[in-house]
């Protein structure tokens, strides 16, 4: 997994790259936008970690500008700006996620992994969350090479939750993803699907992975053992 870290403070850039490398990513560093352009021309990256205030321009403008003409990998913006509006401005401008400085490498790595699980340019055929694997081609799930039997709808639900592992997926998002306009959605159809999926995960010796946030949605999470 190759990343480009664009950050003007060279010590910070080196430390972030080092931290990410220790978590299994390959990292290149660009100290300004010109270097970032050069790096993008020379290599294919899976994700970009982008600082905003760079000596030769603004990260958001650069990203928005490049998005017009190039196929771009997902980008995470590092913002040191005010706590309120800037985050949203960044997401509107085409960033896929943001982290607020001072950033924790663990959090950054988790966000990058979540980003790479999303359907995108270089989709991986197998999604993994802990011991649970999902093959997007055969639409089947397995735990330690033992297949977990799932209905089509349960497989869709599991894929959705796995792609956003560690994040709460809202109920209406699940409803929209699982049921088309013509499908009659009974009020507790999602609950029923979730409880079936939870039972199957329990049977596959993966208990407590599927969490309910009552009134909001559901979250699939790897349990640190």
């Amino acid at each position: 997994m190759r990343l480009l870290v664009v950050e003007d403070n060279d010590r910070m850039a080196a430390l972030i790259a080092d931290g990410l490398q220790r978590r299994g990513f390959v990292c290149d560093v660009a100290l300004n936008l010109a270097q970032a352009d050069d790096a993008m021309a020379g290599a294919q990256y899976d994700a970009i970690v982008l600082d905003l205030g760079l000596p030769d321009g603004d990260g958001i403008d650069w990203l928005a500008g490049r998005r017009k003409y190039h196929q771009m990998p997902p980008a995470i913006i590092q913002t040191a700006r005010g706590a309120l509006e800037d985050r949203i401005t960044g997401l509107d401008a085409g960033a896929d996620d943001y982290v607020v400085k001072p950033v924790e490498v663990d959090e950054l790595a988790a966000r990058i992994r979540a980003l790479l699980r999303r359907p995108g340019v270089r989709t991986q055929p197998i999604i993994e969350v802990g011991a649970l694997c999902f093959d997007t081609a055969s639409r089947s799930a397995s735990v330690a090479n033992r297949k977990v039997d799932l209905s089509r709808r349960e497989a869709d639900l599991l894929e959705l939750l796995m792609r956003r592992a560690g994040i709460v997926v809202h109920r209406d998002v699940i409803e929209n993803a699982l049921y088309s306009f013509n499908d009659p959605v009974t009020p507790n159809a999602v609950e029923a699907a979730i409880s079936r999926l939870r039972r199957k995960l329990d049977e596959a010796a993966l208990p407590d992975m599927l969490h309910t946030v009552r009134g909001v949605g559901y979250m699939l999470k790897d349990n640190p053992s």
Binding site: M12, L15, I16, G19, G82, V213, R214, G215, M219
Partner: protein, 338 residues
């Protein structure tokens, strides 16, 4: 002198003295002239005659003149002070959104205008001074982020038991800085008078609870959201309200034991409420906590007292209130009904 000097009282006293001196002087003058006119009468009759004349021509005109003058003057004075009383009421009503407040000088009598303008100038200077302080606090918080980020990243490289503890401390500092930045942002928005927008409290609550839930679940606690239909729509600044709710939930999470549930409720009415499994907070204690410098527990490294002070500030900026109900262990954000 304990009695405050009142203009009306001084005027009454002045008019009284003028009346008294005038009466005495006029009486003396009249008596002097009558003493020549009534020489043909015996002293007894002359005295009676003089008293009668004086009543008719001195006392009566004086009373006729002085009483209406006194009434008129007191009336004028009372009316002249009405704009002052109104300005006082306006100033009192501006409690909670003092920033940018000025006294309306257009209704003031000319004599009070210099004073009003001086006070307005003072308010301008206070606003500017507060803005400089806030900008400074925001700058400090901003500048602290880079060294803190470096420290945090260096700690990440250390493979030592102490590193975990140190990382917790750095995380607490980071949280505090976030809170300071948020506070600066609220003040800056208040100064810029950013317009609120119609916002569904249910949407805000759903977003905030969804975003914060992973951390709460990781701590072995649970969170739930109940929405009362129809979901209330209020005119607010969405991000500020989200920050307020986030702070309340973080506060609730801190006092809720492992295995416990934090319950967030939307409505009925324009209310966002957070119930925890802590000991509950009395209104007095809440008032103490929101006074920014009187912190609940000074050992708190997470900026808890600051958090509630920020919530209070956000609610005040929206014309709402932060309330507590110790019986139900619930803190509520109450917005003005649209």
């Amino acid at each position: 002198m304990t009695q405050r000097r009142s203009v009306s009282r001084r005027l009454r006293r002045g008019l009284g003295i003028i009346g008294l001196i005038g009466t005495v002087l006029l009486l003396a003058a009249v008596a002097f002239f009558y003493s020549f006119t009534f020489t043909h009468l015996d002293p007894q009759a002359a005295m009676m005659r003089a008293i009668k004349e004086m009543m008719e021509h001195v006392a009566l005109p004086l009373i006729v003149l002085l009483v209406p003058v006194t009434i008129m003057v007191l009336r004028v004075i009372r009316q002249a002070f009405v704009p002052l009383a109104e300005a006082a009421a306006e100033i009192e009503a501006a409690r909670g959104h003092e920033r940018g407040f000025r006294i309306d000088a257009s209704q003031m009598p000319a004599e009070a205008v210099p004073f009003t303008e001086a006070v307005n100038d003072l308010l301008t200077r206070l606003d500017e001074s507060a803005m400089r302080q806030e900008a400074f606090a925001a700058d400090v918080a901003h500048e602290l982020r880079t060294p803190l980020a470096l420290l945090s990243l260096e700690l990440d490289r250390l493979d030592h038991d102490d590193a975990v503890r140190l990382k917790t401390d750095v995380a607490a500092m980071r949280r505090l800085i976030d809170q300071l930045m948020l506070l600066a942002q609220i003040d800056a928005d208040a100064a810029a008078q950013i317009a609120p927008e119609p916002t569904s409290l249910a949407d805000v609550a759903s977003d905030v609870v969804g975003a914060i839930a992973p951390g709460i679940i990781a701590e072995g606690k649970m969170i739930s959201l109940d929405t009362d239909e129809p979901a209330p729509i209020v005119n607010v600044r969405r991000e500020a309200v989200a920050a307020a709710l986030r702070n309340l939930i973080e506060n609730a999470t801190r006092v809720t034991p492992t295995g416990g549930t934090i319950q967030v409720r939307v409505g009925p009415g324009a209310i966002l409420a957070v119930r925890d499994e802590g000991p509950g907070l009395t209104p007095d204690r809440l008032r103490d906590l929101v006074q920014r410098h009187r912190r609940a527990d000074h050992a708190s490294k997470t900026g808890a007292g600051l958090g509630l002070a920020i919530v209070e500030r956000i609610m005040a900026a929206h014309g709402g209130r932060l309330t507590t109900d110790p019986a139900t262990r619930e803190l509520a954000l109450r917005f003005p009904e649209p």
